[in-house]
Amino acid sequence: MTIPAVGLLLVFHYVPTLGNVIAFQDYSPYDGVAGSPWVGLYNFQWLLSDPEFWTALRNTVTITAFQLVFYFPIPIVLAVLLDSVLSRRLRLFIQGVVYMPHFFSWVLVVALFQQILGGAGLLAQTLRQAGHEPWNVMTNPDAFIVLVTAQSVWKDAGWGTIIFLAALAAINTSLYEAAAVDGASRWRRLWHITLPGLRPVILLLLILRLGDALNVGFEQFFLQRDAVGAEAAEVLDTFVYWRTLMTGAWSYGAAAGLFKGLVGLILIVVANKVAHRFGEQGIYKKS
């Protein structure tokens, strides 16, 4: 029963994983993997001396760091806020609304932002009619990191609350009751009961995010790269696409991809070690 699914994974996941050997070759489709010459670490040396690669790497890491500070806490705050809404029906309604954009495609989200905030969008239109100078956030390279973070918050922060809401629901209410009886204020209860209750989930998601540090998504950046320029919007995935897929430099692109995959693997293993040290479960158990 499991065989068809395993088969697809083998073909579209494991074979390409092995296919990464072309990173150590000068691959040409005509010669194939067997016939292409081996070049050792040449592609990786090339990668490390390529300024465009460093721009992409720097942008990726900066965006991840920025979003860790300005995106990551938002679902937690929002979940605590939602959890405090007493009316069940109102809460379900708000949840329904904030989960929704998670199911929109990036093209759709970018198009919506463009219609609202872009040069011909609603904001510019309103400003112009009020006699002000419009400004276009969508094409400003300096504001790009804020823009993409705002888009991510709009699209996914609501969905992100789901796991925190579940963790909040699992906290035993008698803890709150006992604390209240002992005279703990609402803020003290938040600090001493709610946050410790969320700790394992927060750590788990932090680990996942760290393991994914080099993955900021392809589509969002691919779509907006033309508007703000490669200097600000090039991330590792778009770098692989433009620099290699478009020019047929297969081995070079595979080297960049392999670099990204290996760093991701190392990060996730290290983050798990750290989590175990803190006495938390992490994403896989200690074996």
Partner: protein
């Protein structure tokens, strides 16, 4: 209305007001852009001109923009492509995921551990864009609709969620069916699936949304623009601002108002891309917490 537990203090007026304002703003930030887009797509050229762009207050309404889009041509074709890929893809994905998840949910089954490992390992390492592209090309799937389906057909995450759900079904139920002579497929079809409608709906939605929104794979694998799915059309006409060419009948528009305005057409494309999600979503939403949480906790 749930009542406040007795031990909880009354909220201050300030706190309550602040909370209401914040939550209202959040809901508006989600809903208002959609409202403007839908309204503009339904507006006549005169209403769009008067508003000086996007329409925020309902004025003259018409369905011309949609008539234009569905009168044949690029968008009609793209909608058909996307619908086809979504229907076929979701059926295939859901079928494979259910079979595999059921197989892996019974600890005694053949090669249970190693097979599960095959799925879990995919979380740790992603193969990368270039080797994946080369495989699809080697298989001759470039410009084939299968390139939009097969590479993403099985999601290990969805599989783990589903497996966790199946594992909660007591083994005794299945054993008794087996003693009565039911085959594995019959047990799956008659007992396991009817007990798992919620999780099946959620996983189905995840897959369907994935296929409907597929953009990256289409950019990589579909070069022939007559085969483009809707998301690529959306990008070309809305995000990159290319004007939609009206279907032949541009000539007989003496007043200039008979043709729907370009902005309305663009907004209508957005609405068409949005619609399936908006339609299915409310029915599946109530299953979210159950479905997602089990997977998240056990995964």
């Amino acid at each position: 209305m749930t009542t406040r537990p007795v031990w909880q203090e009354r909220p201050t007026v300030f706190g309550l007001t602040l909370k209401t304002v914040v939550l209202t703003l959040i809901v508006l930030a989600m809903v208002y852009p959609l409202y403007v887009v839908v309204l503009t797509s339904l507006s006549t050229a005169r209403a769009v001109t008067e508003a000086g762009g996007l329409v925020t207050l309902p004025g003259e309404l018409s369905l011309d923009a949609y008539r234009e889009l569905f009168g044949g041509g690029v968008v009609t074709r793209a909608v058909l492509v996307s619908t086809g890929v979504t229907v076929v893809g979701t059926a295939l994905s859901l079928g494979l995921t259910i079979l595999a998840a059921y197989g892996l949910s019974r600890p005694g089954s053949v090669l249970h551990r190693p097979l599960l490992f095959v799925f879990l390992l995919t979380f740790l390492f992603t193969p990368g864009m270039i080797p994946s592209y080369l495989i699809v090309r080697e298989l001759g799937l470039i410009d084939s609709y299968w390139s939009l389906i097969l590479p993403t057909a099985v999601s290990a995450f969805n599989l783990v969620v589903m497996r966790a759900f199946f594992m909660n079904i007591p083994g005794e139920v299945l054993d008794s069916a087996r003693i009565d002579g039911a085959s594995d497929f019959r047990i799956l079809w008659r007992i396991v699936l009817p007990m798992s409608k919620g999780v099946t709906a959620v996983i189905g939605l995840f897959y369907a949304v994935g296929y409907w929104n597929a953009f990256f794979n289409a950019v990589l694998y579909i070069n022939d623009n007559t085969k483009w799915p809707l998301q690529l059309i959306l990008r070309q006409y809305v995000q990159q601002g290319m004007n939609v060419v009206p279907n032949q009948r541009a000539v007989d528009t003496a007043a200039g108002y008979a043709l729907p305005p370009n902005l309305a057409i663009k907004m209508a494309i957005i609405v068409v891309a949005l619609m399936p999600v908006l339609l299915i979503y409310p029915f599946v939403q109530r299953h979210f917490t159950k479905g997602v949480i089990i997977g998240a906790v056990k995964g």
